[in-house]
Structures are given as structure tokens and as C-alpha cells.
């Protein structure tokens, strides 16, 4: 089977780059084909890149606290674009201010994300999750 293709980037008006860079590099080292969109990436661009590259997963970052607003309707737009099967992961610092990560998880799962990661989470765990999820879909 070919190497799975994944899209990374920081969504919306968020400029935090370090997390998505580290994540992208780690994914590449783990054998994934990584399309790295960088910071300030509109949600549409994630979809466009996923369609063009026939991606298996989108790994979105957001640190600045306003992700909820940035990804309204994202899952629906994915489906509209024919991305029914692409895995959606999001991680970073997903709310403004001190708050409970478990609320983020519930919120973003409702918004259609398959997995949600708290600040400073370990990329190795995420990659293991991704492998497992892809396997479950018969993709890895």
C-alpha cells in the first residue's frame, strides 16, 4: 500500500507555526506523505488540498483560542467536497482562556472531528492513533 497522505496546517487567522512544523516533520519521518500548508490557512484550503492530493487525513492545528469559530461547518463542507472518508484531527489550544480540555473534546467531536488533542500533546501518540484509525479503515 502507498504511504498515506495527510494535510497539515494552522487554521484560520492563527499564526502559531511551531506545533504544526514539528507535527509535519514527525509525520514525514514516520513515513507519511505530508502536504504542509503552514499558518493562516483558511478551512477551504484544507479541503482543496485534501481533494487535490486524495488525502487520508487532515491534521489541523489551532493555538490562538478561536478555532471553534474557524471550523464551523467544516465537516459538512468536507462531505460536500466528496471527502466522506477523510480523518479529521485537530489539536493545540482550542479555547480562549483557562478551560477544561474535556469540553473542547466534546465540542470539536460534535463539529465532526474524529480526534481532538490538548495543548502540548505528544505527537508520537497522535501518530499511533492515526495509524490505528487508518488501519481500522483498511488504509494502512
Amino acid at each position: 500500500m502507498a504511504n498515506p497522505t495527510v494535510i497539515t496546517g494552522t487554521v484560520g487567522k492563527d499564526a502559531h507555526v511551531i506545533g504544526t512544523k514539528i507535527l509535519s516533520r514527525a509525520l514525514r519521518e514516520a513515513g507519511f506523505n505530508v502536504i504542509e500548508l503552514g499558518i493562516l490557512t483558511p478551512p477551504e484550503e484544507f479541503i482543496k488540498a485534501a481533494v487535490e492530493n486524495n488525502a487520508d487525513a487532515i491534521l489541523m492545528s489551532s493555538l490562538y483560542g478561536m478555532a471553534e469559530n474557524d471550523v464551523q461547518g467544516f465537516k459538512e463542507n468536507c462531505i460536500k467536497a466528496g471527502l466522506n472518508d477523510v480523518l479529521l484531527y485537530i489539536g493545540g489550544n482550542l479555547g480562549v482562556g483557562k478551560h477544561d480540555f474535556r469540553d473542547d473534546e466534546i465540542k470539536f467531536k460534535k463539529l465532526g472531528f474524529d480526534r481532538v488533542y490538548p495543548p502540548a500533546s505528544d505527537v508520537k501518540t497522535a501518530i499511533a492513533d492515526l495509524r490505528a484509525d487508518l488501519k481500522a479503515k483498511g488504509k494502512a
Partner: protein
Amino acid sequence: MENRLRNRRLDESEFLKMRAPFLAQWPTGREVDLDEAVEYQKNLPDSKNWHKVAVKLHEEGRTAIFPRAGTGLLEDQISLSRKLVESGVPFIPVTTDSYTRQLEFAKVDELLEEIRRSGRKLLNGFPIINYGVKQTRKIIESVDRGAFNPRLSLKSYPLATEISFAAGMTGIAASSFISWAAYEKNATLEQSMATNQYVHRLIGYYADRGVIISTDNHGWILTGMQPMTVNLATTIVDALMVAEQGGKSITSVVHLMGNMAQDLAWIRVAPRLMREYLDRFGYRDVSIAGVFAQHTPLFPMPQGMGGAFAFPNYTAMVAALGNVEAVSVRTIDEALGIPTEESHALTYESTNWLLNVIRAQKIDLTMKEIDEEAVVAEMEIRALVDKVLEIGDGDVIVGCLKAVEEGFLDSSFSPNKQVRDLVVGVKDCHGAIRWKEFGNLPFPEEVKKFHREKVSEREKAERRKMDYEVLVEDFWAFSKGQLIGRA
């Protein structure tokens, strides 16, 4: 390569013509009346003027806190500012939200509505443009002292500084590199320099009329860990740009990386070289208001309360030993999200304790390591600035634009596409940051040799190559209560 921007003072008439489109970006732009604003500024007490506050701190031998803070609603921003002033903070930031930073003012209005309706926290900073001059003055007037400073983005600079200064703010991080290097993907340095030139000229306009607004020059904010010399060289470029447009007060900002000797060396070298280059270009009447330190924002924070206090306390300690006028510390809630008023207060209670206790001792440290680091830093900064001047034919703007293209100025982990990203930094055995890859940095061989030795020292001590993994470990070290990354 043609028709490039140059470091030349804009004519006043030319400048005044440039203002209209910016002021038209949102209706509140109409509230700016420069003459009235100058009068307003002149009536502010000294304790609200950034430059005067910094100079007074210097005279008194004290180090104060310059926080980072901003919140969505006016009433919250007022309450926050008051709390900061009560905590003994003389420099008050007004950090703007990310939509303001992208000029999405209609969206901001929508979110403000929503916040008022639902109480949800939907803005990560204060939308200064939507509020406008009159409303923003309420913040400045809500306290009896405190010099305000807005934190902006490239796009929002012109209109937001017009509004900020008219509202009585007296400090601004007007650096061409700050946004471009750390916040933008597609914006070019030339765009950024043009925008900053406008802001510098606005400051010059006030200065011509006797109102001193100080620029805290951050230079090229690094996103990766590397020696601060590219950053410090660009703060000198910032200074030369500000001075050319008529700015009279510059606050030298020094970002720290965690090794005391190296950090203190940077604190010593930075203002000295800035002064030297300003003088060399004839800007003798431009003063350096003070030195501000901050831990370069690279470091994530441990979430345990003990480590959360240790990090800002350490920053405060180094700043105090460096005898700087102010320091920006991360709050104890840093890693969790935008800090609450309470965590600001607690953090500054703690750091002020240390700043007071240490500064009262009037310490003048000598360490051979500081001297050694200072020599290396000075050689690097001179090499960089002189290269910029050389290829720019004496014009720092022209020089910088070329230098970035060539990678003579460079940084790792850059979000901006223009940046070559050929350099790599790594910590050495004592936790000082070294260049592992020099890219095209125009350093003398002697300097390169020094860094190579330090890197190989650590390679030997740890019996491993200084690869990407080590870099990431170094990056997380502070979060684990360590200076140097460990496998």
C-alpha cells in the same frame, strides 16, 4: 530589484496624503484628529508616557513588568488595566484580537454582539479599531498612571496606531520584522517595512510637535531557537528606520533564551551597539529609553503551579541581574490560555518581589562567560548589520530586503515563505544557544569555529548527534524543569 523602498524621511505633505485610505478602513478612523490628539497627549501626566516612565525607572535603578494582556470587551479591558496598575505594573499592553489583526471589523462587531449576548469568550484580544478613539480613551483615563502600548498585526498597524496614539497610548512595537517574521505567511518584508515607515512617520509627526512616543524594537522575532544576534541586528535596523522618520525614543528589547551568561551578554551588547549605529548615522538626539527583556516566546510552559511560578521568576531574576528597566514575563497560566486577571496579579506579585529584592542590591555581575558571550555576540551583530549596510549601499532598508533574499539574515522555523530557513540552533552543554547550521549568515570563521566547538562538546558529552530530535527536546526542556533537552 527596482524601485525599492528606501530609508528616507517621508515629506510631511506626502505622509498626510497617505493617511486617508487607512483612516477610511473603518468608520472610527474619522475620530482621529491629529491636532487634537497632540493636545490630548500633551496633557497626559508623565506617568502615562512610556519614555518618561522608562527613564524614571532607569534613574531609580528599578525593573518593572511589561505584561501581555488583552481582552474582548472595553469594560474587561478597563478592569484588567486597573488590576495591572494595582499590581505595580507601569506599562500596560492592549493586545488586539486576531480578527482585528486581519482587518475583519464586521466580523468583530458580530462577535462583540455575540459576546454581549452569550457571555462567551470569543475574542482573544481587544478590538481597538472597532472601539475607536473615544472609547479607547476610557481605558487610559480609567487609571491614574500607566503607559499604554497596543499589540498589533502588520495589516492593522496604520489605522490601529492612528487610533492608539490619538487615544493616548505612548509606546508601540513598531518593528518591520516582528509581524513579518512571526505572524505572517505571505506578506513580504517590503510591505512590512513600508507599513512601518508610515507608523514611524506618524511618531515623527507627534515628535515634531513635542510628543514623545517610544518604539519598543523587537526586531526579527524568532520562532525557532537560535542565537539572538539576527534578532538584535534587526533591532538596530528598526532603530535606524524609526530615527530616520523622526522618532526620538527607542526602547531596546532583548529576548532571552535561558542561559544567564548569554542572556546577560545580549542585554549588555544590544543597547551599546544600537547607540553606536544611531550615532554613526547622526541620530544623536534619539535616546534609548531603556532596555526591556523578555523570554523569547518560544517556550511552552509546565502546567504544574510550582513550575509555572518558577519560569517567570527565573525570567525576572535574569532581568534584574541584567539591570534592565522592564521585563515581560509569562504568567502562571501561560500554557493554559489567556491569563485571568488573578493570574496576572499573582504572577507580578511574585516577579516584583524578586525584581525589588534583587535590584535593591545594585548588583554588577562579572562572569568570564558573560564577557566571552558578549564578544561573540558583538562580532555577529556587527557582521550582520555591516553586511546589510554594505549590500544596501548604506541604506538599511535596501540592504535588509537583499539580505533576506540571500539568507544573510535568516531564521529557523519561520512561518513566512520569504525566509530561507537555512539556519539551525541547538543548546550547548551549559544551555547556551549555538548555531548548528549557519546557512548563509555572513559570520567570520572565528565565530563559526566557536559555535562548532560548543556543539561538538555537547555531542561528545551526550554521545549523540545534535539532530532534529534533540532540537525538539531542547525546545520542551523548560516545560520539564530543565535547561537542556534530555533524551
